[in-house]
Symmetry: C2
């Protein structure tokens, strides 16, 4: 296993394991210091081995979006939150049929999702816990009023084997640089407090109040009432996370290793990582253009892309890459770059220490050990 | 096999087989009428079964970008063009080790790619044909001057077992609506003619002059000197292709089947197809916003996305979708949506006729039958 990473075929996903472990350790220390539970979202890495590393560092459980993610992660965690409305018979069934030893919780925001999940849970004869999702400004999913949320919690109570477990929200609209989040976090904190009080008055104490993202990670303790947080990106970080100050550039643990394949057009260099490797995600919450930047030369960005071509902007550098050179691109949004690949390579001191399949990337059903039979 | 498509788990890629076959037939008739060779780019479908359908309709061979695409397609075609610079030892080796019965051609634009390929071809003891790529305005890859191209062709001649076969270009910068392409096509035609004449004068007659994209597909015959075209998207078409008039809306053969999972936030509906299913590709060459539009209601677009959420813009419709409803989204750029999935489902008269793995999507090496041993 002493292959240097420079021998990998490109494009390839390369994880700096020292940096990744430092990122995981830092988050573990933070939640421990503030008495919060950490339930990392696995959408970022989709890798059981990394999820296990999060669990070993004290994560309360894992957050998943897709049935496949939950199926794969049931091998390394016995407490899973599916933070996605269980609408559709197949989605509800796959969640209800996760291995019996796994405590399953679902986050949802409407009566149809509750009905689908209740039917599947009854058929599988297993309890499923439910968090009712509130919209606290993201305007994606989640009910708009606490009264609507309480009505859903009451529906859950009437829908055995479902069990009401609490409330959740996703502060994904907070994309400001960390130092500029005061106003948004204050508003969220006020809403959370009001919701918890109203649920308590209704005799529906929310045991869990789940929130938290990577951009707001290090200020999660300022939101009074939150019991657990669900960051995903923090495991690797990315160009956006660094740009808003939620990590330093040296905390970026994942890069897309690419080869310069052409310098034929004057004034630019073309790498073999394009939209089918990097994704076409903008930099968010901060100034900046391009779809990624070089780890060692962040002034060099990927300014344009085709499916298998990325064009480096060399206007801010004296560096003149030659055909065959390797570069490491920090993507704007790491979750997308991972989803576009099949394999990741973990590297330490320039050597590939391990390579693994991104097991939860696909959407196909993963047969689960000990799963409840259909 | 009489499952209705509405029983598929979402998000899912759905191919209307009647429309796809109509698209393939139309292109076959077009090239036949104009004496052109058709070498479809498989990046769009990455599916051997569809590639075979293209070959059955008279395609001269196939175009690939990645070694994996070439390995997979070697099972259904004996004439492959790898239209990508073979820089890097692994890329050149995989191309040179394609099955011996396959005629392999590579498109490239620089001396390093020639050296890499020549070394790999010599090691594998097989001839590989080479097209020298010219930049005719795309400014991505390709040499800028005919003199540079001739110098590369001469290097190829000196690099047995490589064989000089001709020239290629990619008119990917022509994104105008079909009716507005006159000026660009005239300029390209002039450049092609000048290049062919110069190569002839240098005693390097280009047997192949390869060009052509989907946006320019139906005007390819206007570029004098072109012998073959390499469209990819035309097999399915997409929102962009329809927007520029290179197909009608009814020619869009691939949709992303999705479920409405939430209407909790007033005035919108959320579907389970986001950036991890649709990609974040803009509409190009025509007016329009959003990342896709509903097949049956093109006035409804996907206005915002998260990884697993797409938000429908309902401002231009009276339609009020309910949670659990199925929708079919025509993506802006179909090649990306295909690359994001593992499976496609072919449908006729609402019934799923066949489902297949998108075999050339991954980048992992595909063991090839009869391949030259490493």
């Amino acid at each position: 296993m002493s292959t240097p990473y420079s021998a990998l075929e490109t494009p390839a996903l390369l994880v700096d394991l020292d940096r990744m472990e430092r990122n995981l350790d830092r988050a573990a220390r933070y939640v421990s210091a503030h008495g919060l539970s950490l339930r990392p979202h696995v959408k970022t890495h989709k890798t059981p081995w990394i999820a296990a590393a999060q669990m070993e560092r004290g994560a309360r459980g894992l957050t998943c979006a897709t049935p496949r993610e939950a199926e794969v992660m049931s091998e390394v965690a016995d407490d899973l939150l599916v933070a996605y409305p269980t609408v559709g018979a197949a989605r509800a069934r796959r969640v209800a049929e996760l291995p019996a030893g796994v405590r399953v919780t679902v986050g949802l925001d409407g009566p149809v999702a509750i009905d689908c999940l209740a039917a599947a849970a009854a058929r599988a004869d297993r309890p499923v816990r439910v968090l009712v999702e509130l919209d606290l400004g993201m305007r994606r999913v989640g009910v708009a009023t606490v009264d609507d949320a309480i009505a859903l919690a009451q529906q859950v109570r009437r829908s055995a084997p479902l069990e009401f477990a609490g409330i959740m929200f996703y502060p994904g609209h907070v994309r400001e640089p960390m130092a500029q989040q005061d106003e948004q976090l204050t508003a969220i904190g006020r809403s959370v407090r009001a919701a918890v009080d109203a649920f308590d008055r209704a005799g529906l104490h929310p045991e869990v109040v789940s929130g938290g993202s990577t951009p707001t990670l290090w200020r999660s303790h300022e939101i009074d009432g939150v019991t657990e947080i669900r960051p995903g990106t923090y495991v690797f970080n990315d160009r956006t996370t660094a740009a808003i100050g939620a990590c330093s550039w040296d905390d970026c643990a994942l890069t897309v290793l690419a080869t310069v394949v052409s310098t034929a057009v004057p004034g630019q260099a073309v790498i073999d990582a394009g939209t089918k490797s990097l994704g076409r995600e903008p930099l968010r919450g901060a100034e900046g253009t391009g779809f990624g930047a070089l780890l060692d030369r962040p002034e060099v960005t990927v300014k344009q892309m085709s499916e298998e071509h990325g064009i480096l902007d060399l206007s801010q550098t004296d560096w003149m890459p030659t055909v065959g050179s390797l570069v490491r691109v920090v993507p704007n949004h790491v979750c997308i770059s991972v989803h576009l690949a099949d394999t990741m390579h973990g590297m330490r001191s320039e050597l590939v220490e391990r390579s693994w399949t991104i097991a939860a990337r696909s959407r196909e059903p993963q047969p689960v050990a000990g799963g409840v039979a259909p």
